[in-house]
């Protein structure tokens, strides 16, 4: 596609006036940011928390039944759906007569995971979810990035309720389109929390 360049007027071809106009724009930004720096969109991460959408795909967790045992039935659907092949499951026989299998090991290699969420979609038991809101997974050791079952199960329930600021959806027919008691929902669907005070020295 050919984009015709606009014909410049004579005063535009001198450029000095146009440069001055451009400089007015940058100076306006600079003055606004100097005197109203709290309104800058920059987030001083990780000191300031980043405001993530409530429904962002974070790292996985495994949900539990009411008696605390994992909901997972080791059906391998998530591992099959995974395009990054980061889920490793070992099954064993379940002690419960109504359940066929339970996972003996359930490892997710977070270095391979692409956060696509296909595992969540594939799971028939709602056993794996990505609703922890944790997106910064940091370590200086590769072994730490392989999340084992006990870690993925830990904190299912009460802890996430507190962390996410809303009751954990446990009911299967939960209406995800309107999360209950969301404090300040704006129309773009992003939750704005109170920003912590920025030190004046910034």
């Amino acid at each position: 596609m050919k984009v015709p360049s606009p014909r410049l007027r004579w005063y535009e071809r001198i450029y000095l006036w146009e440069i001055a106009r451009g400089m007015v724009v940058t100076m306006r930004h600079m003055i606004r940011n100097l005197f109203r720096q709290r309104e800058m969109p920059t987030v001083q991460w990780p000191e300031e928390p980043k405001h993530l959408p409530v429904r962002i795909k974070g790292r996985h967790r495994l949900t539990v039944r009411e008696d605390g045992s994992p909901k997972c039935v080791a059906c391998y659907m998530c591992a099959t759906a995974c395009p990054a092949r980061c889920i490793h499951i070992e099954a064993e026989e379940s002690p419960e007569p109504t359940i066929e299998k339970v996972p003996k090991a359930f490892d997710i290699d977070m270095l391979r995971c692409v956060f696509c969420g296909y595992c969540v979609e594939a799971c028939p038991e709602d056993a794996i979810r990505m609703d922890t809101g944790e997106v910064s997974i940091v370590s200086d050791n590769r072994d730490d990035f392989i999340f084992h079952m006990d870690f993925l199960l830990r904190g299912s329930g009460e802890e996430w309720k507190k962390k996410r600021g809303r009751p954990e959806p446990v009911e299967e027919d939960e209406d995800l389109s309107s999360p209950p008691d969301t404090p300040e929902e704006t129309r773009d669907g992003y939750r704005r929390r109170e920003r912590p005070p920025v030190p004046s020295s910034w």
Partner: protein, 351 residues
Amino acid sequence: MKEWVDGLVEGSSLLQSLPIEVSYFLAMVFFSLVAVGWMAICALFFVWLERKVSARIQSRLGPVYVGGRFGWAQTPADALKLLMKEDLVPESADRLLFNIAPAIAFMATLLTFVAIPIGNGLVIADLDIGIFFILAVSSLGVIGIIMGGWASNSKWSLYGGMRAASQIVSYEIPVALSLIGVVMIAGTLNLVEIGRGQAGGIWNWYLFKSPFLFAAGIVYFIAALAEVNRTPFDLPEAESELVSGYNTEYSGMKFAFFFLAEFANLFVISAVAVVMFLGAWNSFLPWQILPGPIWFLGKVFFLVLVIMWLRWTLPRLRVDQLMHTCWKVLIPISMVLLIGVGVQMWLFPGN
């Protein structure tokens, strides 16, 4: 400087017992250390300022941690880091040229500091050929740059060095031509005398003395930006094309020298513009309200701020546009302005 040393020797019995050459030598060492220190302080401050200004223009915060407030110690910390880094020389580089190139670039800038008057008579070397000296030694810097580009034996560096050579040599011409107008009106090359000639109010500044000199001031400012490789003329180190240009292969101390020279050049071109066009150390009122150095540094810092402001406003030129701007625009304009100044002096003698 010589008078100051003579006066010091007169008053001190210890110095009188030494041969006069020793006193002069000690004074030279002292003043060269003053120049190096002043240059380092300027460069460190300007790097910090540039980072802060660019951050604010782009709605960022810039350095905030080092030093507690405003990240003021960020650049000294960076300098310390560069000093302690390993000094790498590429295997296929020309070792001798590679090592002396940063020293030449640094020296060219350092020498100009010697001749810049901070206040009335406050100058390390009160040269009669002051502005000529500054133009001459500051163009030595390109030798260091092209030497570094060649000796690195890297294509990025070589391209950067070649671009720097063509650019700096070309833009020398409009810089010199636009400054000659001021020299004609002032009747002297001595920077202190030029400064004294602009005393007594803003209407005596050479920028406002004649419409030709006003235009010459703008031409000087544009051409000087290109001469020190500042955006929008920063082709020799165009990051997006040449990695980092002529200093791609440099690390540690030698890179610090290039960097220091580059930011100290900001001070030099602003100081020359202030002395030649913006009334040097004189206030804009007929009375000198504050001491001269404060006026001088205030004007220089304002110009440096304008240069940084320009850098974060304008995109980079293409190489052909760069050459077009110099040879087809700035040089003819500065020639016409030079003739204009001459005609004006002929029509209105003694004004």
